[in-house]
Amino acid sequence: MSSNLKLLPILVVLLLPSIPVFISRVSASSENAANLAITQAEETMASAYEAVLEARRARANVSDLLDWLNVAGEHLAEAHMLYRLGDFDGAVYFAGLSSEIGEEVRNSAGELKIKAYESWIADLWSRVIGSFVGVIVVVSGIFVTWQVFKRRYFRQK
């Protein structure tokens, strides 16, 4: 037991130089993790934005989705700033939050786009059919009225 205790200071002296290496490796790995999390959050945010843009083009109401997307954007900005300040754990946390919200927005935007597209198609058909019937009625009405008028006109002459 006492010999073990005597060995302890020697062990500490031997291991001491490896501590900075260990710390720098931990730091490098958390920097890498933060970098990865931020890249993923940026990609998710961009794809969520593109999905919202498509939903908007399909005439969907995207204002609620935009509110959420902007929350994801705030978290992403926070992650960028914390990364630059060297707070890698904080950066990972906020990038993760941004990714989660971004994914939700992307999925909801996809569903909203399909619904909006379906209702747009239904609206398109009703407008086209309505206009077609309307034009036929107007043209026939004008034609019949013209014929009646012409007959009366020549009768009067």
Binding site: M45, A46, Y49, E50, V52, L53, R56, V62, S63, L66, L69, N70, G73, E74, L76, A77, H80, M81, R84, L85, L124, S126, R127, V128, G130, S131, F132, G134, V135, V137, V138, V139, G141, I142, T145, W146, F149, K150, Y153
Partner: protein, 195 residues
């Protein structure tokens, strides 16, 4: 009154017929969207503490808080994804180059990321304080976050002060290239650091 000729009545019928046909076809015609003819652009502005374009912070001292507002307007014709980068410089450091559309090479301190619908505007408060003295600013705190800047300035005898500038660059996400691009717009405020 002279009675109308048949040809004249025919023209009236034709005009009335065409008008009524256009009215009947209007639901379908409304689906045709004409291309936007207006100029598309983005706006970037700064407002003072009272939300007006006046009383901007100018004479600033160590650890005194100041409030301004930064705003963006989207007139691009589509929902745009913006980034506003906040940067800090002395009189000799580079500003963005408006001719070559290059952003300033200085590092971004604070930033905002947001998506804005066409025709809408966005605004956010920015509370800042500097840490240091007139010739050396060590840190700048923005909305509660402290950023090391270590920025030096020399006495400007022409304008009687130690001048620094906080400026805001507008970046726009490009869907085609899948990255943010400098949108060639920036605004800034000059700060005369006293004490």
């Amino acid at each position: 009154m002279k009675p109308m000729k048949l040809d004249e009545v025919r023209i009236i019928f034709l005009v009335a017929g065409l008008t009524l046909t256009l009215i009947a076809a209007s639901p379908a015609l409304s689906l045709i969207s004409l291309p936007r003819s207006e100029e598309s652009f983005s706006e970037l502005w700064l407002l003072g503490p009272e939300h007006k374009a006046e009383n901007y912070p100018f004479n600033v001292s160590n650890m005194t808080q100041h409030r301004i507002y930064v705003g963006v307007g989207n007139q691009l014709g589509y929902a745009a994804y913006y980034n506003v980068s906040v940067k800090f410089r002395n009189q000799t450091q580079q500003l963005p180059n408006s001719t070559t559309s290059e952003p300033s090479p200085l590092p971004t301190l604070y930033e905002f990321c947001f998506v804005l619908l066409d025709g809408n505007m966005w605004e956010a408060p920015l509370i800042f304080a500097i840490e240091g003295n007139s010739s050396l600013i060590q840190n700048i705190s923005i909305n509660g976050m402290v950023f090391p800047v270590n920025c030096t300035s020399t006495w400007d005898s022409a304008r009687n002060g130690f001048y620094y500038q906080m400026f805001f660059e507008l970046w726009l996400y490009n869907v085609t290239s899948s990255r943010f691009q400098y949108h060639n717009r920036f605004v800034g405020i000059w700060l005369n650091v006293t004490g």
